[in-house]
Amino acid sequence: MSVHLKQDKPDTRNVLDTMAQGVIGADLPRPEGLIKVTGTAIYAAEYRADGMLEGVLVTAPVVRGEIASINEASVLGMPGVRAVISDKRMTGRPAQGTAGEAPFQPAREVCYWGQPVALVVAETFEQARDAAKRLALDWHGTGDAPLDPEAAETEKDESTRKGDLAHAMAEAAHTVDVTITTEGHASAAMEPHAALAQWDGRTLTVHASLQMLKYNRAELADSLKLEEEQVRLVSPYVGGGFGSKLGISQEVVAASLAAMQLGRPVRVVMSRQQVFQTIMRRSETRQRIRLAADAEGRLTGFGHEALVSNLPGEDFAEPVLQSSQFLYGGDNRLLKLDLARIHRMTAGSVRAPGEAVGVQTVEQAMDILAEKLGMDPIALRLRNLPDAHPAKGTPFSSRKLAECLEEGAKAFGWEPRPRAPRHTREGEWWIGTGVASAARVHAVVEAKARVTLRPDRTALVETDMTDIGTGTYTILGQIAGEMLGLMPDDIDVRLGDTDFPPGSGSGGSWGAPSCGSAVFLACEGLRKDIARRLDIGTDDLTLKDGLARWDGGETALADILGGEPLDCIGHFEPGSSIEDATVSSFGAFFAEVAVNRWTGETRVRRMTGAFGIGRVLSARTARSQCLGGMTWCIGNALTESLMFDPVDGHLANCDLAEYHVPVHRDVPALEVLLLEERDAAASPIQAKGVGELGLCGGAGAIANAIYDACGARVFAYPMTPDRVIAAMPDI
């Protein structure tokens, strides 16, 4: 049995609200939580296979060039070394998210410093690592390698023009025109990229750390010139992805090639440095924001122009403008994105591509405008929420932005403005607060899932969807439990195996609404079948605690099944419901910071986030996603930056000691408010994405709080002590 839905219309039935089990949205623990915290969940690098060999990637110490020769003899005589793999099918870059085809296979052309060019395979990891460092490479440079995005050639990627922004700026009562920079970010997932490949002569099985198996399988098959059916990927637990595992990366292909060539299982685990140097970066950005407003603070013009970078040949351009298209009004609009071609490793999706750096700059500009107007920054935002998408005219499917600003302000204890900075000092520390809006476009993609009702009062959910720490196991169990009248404990959710029906993969915050909908549809199919067996209408059927009830009757689910399992595949496809409306998640951030008057050190003291994400599927994991997002805001605002050498372009800070994500002490109590919504256009379960919203704008709230605290307007992220003191009026 299967149920297919291409969602062309909003689904206002709110079916999940009519169910009886009462577990949807509940605050329940993660089913896999215990095995994760006790170290018994097995991650990619921890699998072993009989006769397994170890591979270590060899990377090129040159930013642009060609490998003239690889002197295999230099290491083949070393103890334990079995092979040097430099097959033409080796991949030089990771695949972009949803590519579904082989990434760049450059043979021996090197385009960025640290690009993998060979794999040394040996009996032990230590032997392979030693040999990999000793492998003699001959290379020669091949022309210029532009390293500075400001000096490189650019391509126009995207632009929106409406009315005349320059004119609006000239006529406006108040204007803001600021240029703000952000630096590159790493995903910095805890689990490094790793793969164990096994080849039986016909099929290739790879245990790897991946986010989107359906696409990854296609990418790997295409890279190796195999049929997709010959490739099986297994990835039940992923120790963080944040975009870095959307597409396959170099270790997956290298391990597979080695396993196929040597006829033995091969494991390749990237070192932390290799993860930093060869996996996706978030592009640095330079953003110019222009705001024109009338005397009452109504926007008459809105401009957002950004410069981002990528390697030659890559299509991806950090989509900085995404939410700027519709967050605020203003009839005269200019939005423009330029892409500089430089030789740093591939730029791609890092959690919340676009908004993660694009909203905070707008939010800083709005703060400056509010100050010029002598207005409260919340009031300014409320005044400028457009009725519909300013360029396309499509209505918002749901938007609790105003409520988030208001409820969040109440919870946080927001003190209305205007007020001059430096109003509060505690010892050496200036204290201030700031606000920012949050916005993240909503996306859904095709997904399938199989749900099987079993005669023992349990159900099985299977999809190749992954759980990258986000809570997929939890929410799919809660959706199936609600629909089938079972407790989530009785739902066995199996993920991360291409033998299961292809799900959406984890990325773009679309996993929950897409795969959740596939599970939902499968359950609707099962419910229909049960109702048919009982000879009642589906709407008359109540499933609760393993019992089927209807007006005048009740029977155990097990009896209806007659000892046989019953399964259904749900198949969800996005349709025009999300095109006919502007579908986005919204929210608001509030931050309190302390800035040291002497050193400019900034510490976040508390933060509140209020978010509208459609239906909350699991209170616990939705909240955790927001907590994680807000933690990223702190890193984005204060510490995180990839440092590239100006001379040869190599990445200097390539481990977790030197790439500074926030430590526990940097993360104070974070408060999360989830404002329930039902977004009928977003998905048949009325849910929008939540995984990324929590980091879309919050760094701006911190920047605005720095200003409120000490009077420093800093226009470069991260706002490190040196930048704060440079912008700070005297002690």
């Binding site: 110490p61 230590e126 690592r129 030693d130 460092k133 440095q273 050496e428 040291n596 008057r597 002497w598 050193t599 400019g600 050190e601 510490r603 204060l638 510490t639 440092m643 050498d645 100006p646 001379v647 040869d648 190599h650 200097a652 800070n653 000691a657 030197e658 500074h660 926030p662 430590v663 526990h664 002490r665 940097d666 991260p718 490190t720 002590p721 040196d722 003191i725 440079a726 002690i731």
Partner: protein, 326 residues
């Protein structure tokens, strides 16, 4: 990582004898050495594990305190005598690394930890410290962490540690033993400036082993350690200041100051105490002290900010110690 031999020294003489040989390195807590071996920055042929030697004691000696070379950073930081009589030392240690690292890190290993210069730890980059004559990749490259005092055109690296900065302020001594002789040097003279031999971090000769650090009699006063960094833990100092301050009748009676993050060694400038002692604390005086300290400071672009930051941090510490209000 290169394959290596591992030997466990059971007696001190054994260690001293082994470490005299080429390609040998002492292994204490291993928190720095093993990391560098993984990166192939260090490629010893033999590791001599001194962990079993009885060099871990913290004991009173004369009027002062003797901290064994193998006392862990945690043990030193929580020692009641250290906390009572040398609080600047406890504070400096606790400002460094993480609890897990401090549980393993030792006194001697901490003194001998190597620079965090990004080029030094990347063997595909030029670095005079790691590979004499290969050039300095930092001078025109990423120099955010680097020195502004006492640099040379060969190397602008910093000594990265915290503990030694407090030890410099306290005027501790380092006890060193070799196969043939034992000696003791002031901590202020233990680390070197890079000059033309940047590969030498300190004055240890081949075959010498640090056995202890000794602290002079307690001097009391106000003892502060201030470490500036963008995140609040688990980061090396951009700038740090260790201060042992005495005040009587509103005049400085003692002003022992040392600085981290500014140079290839914990920076101690005797002129600061000469200027401050006997004077009344004031912002103007603190500014003069900073002028003296930074007279010869020179930035390399990315680290220019350290010069104003050092000035501000010094003022912060002196204000905190003396109660002067800015």
């Amino acid at each position: 990582m290169r394959p290596f031999d591992y030997q466990r020294a059971e007696r001190f003489e054994h260690a001293a004898q082994l470490v005299g040989e080429d390609g040998t390195r002492l292994l204490a807590g291993g928190t720095n050495l093993i990391d560098l071996m993984k990166l192939q920055v260090e490629t010893p042929q033999t590791l001599v594990d001194i962990g079993r030697l009885s060099l871990g004691t913290i004991a009173e000696e004369g009027d002062g305190l003797r901290i064994g070379a193998l006392a862990t950073n945690t043990a030193t930081a929580v020692d009641p005598r250290v906390r009572r009589d040398y609080p600047v030392l406890a504070r400096a240690i606790l400002a460094g690394a993480t609890q897990q690292l401090r549980n393993k890190a030792t006194t001697a290993g901490n003194l001998c930890q190597r620079t965090r210069c990004y080029n030094f730890t990347n063997i595909d980059q030029p670095c005079n410290k790691r590979e004499p004559g290969s050039g300095c990749g930092a001078i025109k490259g990423i120099a955010r962490l680097h020195a502004v005092l006492g640099t040379s055109d060969q190397c602008i690296a910093t000594y990265p540690g915290d503990m030694a900065v407090a030890l410099a302020a306290l005027d501790a001594r380092v006890e060193i033993s070799g196969e043939r002789r034992s000696r003791s040097v002031r901590l202020r003279d233990f680390h070197r400036l890079p000059g033309d031999t940047p590969w030498r971090d300190n004055v240890l000769d081949a075959g010498e082993v640090i056995t202890a650090v000794t602290l002079p009699a307690p001097v009391g006063g106000i003892q502060l350690y201030r470490k500036v960094r963008e995140r609040s833990s688990y980061a090396f100092a951009l700038v740090s200041v260790a201060a042992v301050i005495g005040i009587e009748e509103n005049r400085f009676t003692r002003a022992d100051l040392a600085f981290g993050g500014l140079a290839h060694k914990p920076w101690h400038d005797p002129r600061l105490a000469e200027l401050l002692v006997g004077s009344e604390p004031s912002l103007a005086l603190f500014d003069k002290a900073a002028d003296l300290l930074l007279e010869d400071a020179r930035g390399y672009g990315e680290n220019d900010f350290k010069i104003p930051l050092a000035r501000r941090t010094l003022a912060a510490v002196l204000c905190e110690a003396t109660g002067v209000e800015p």
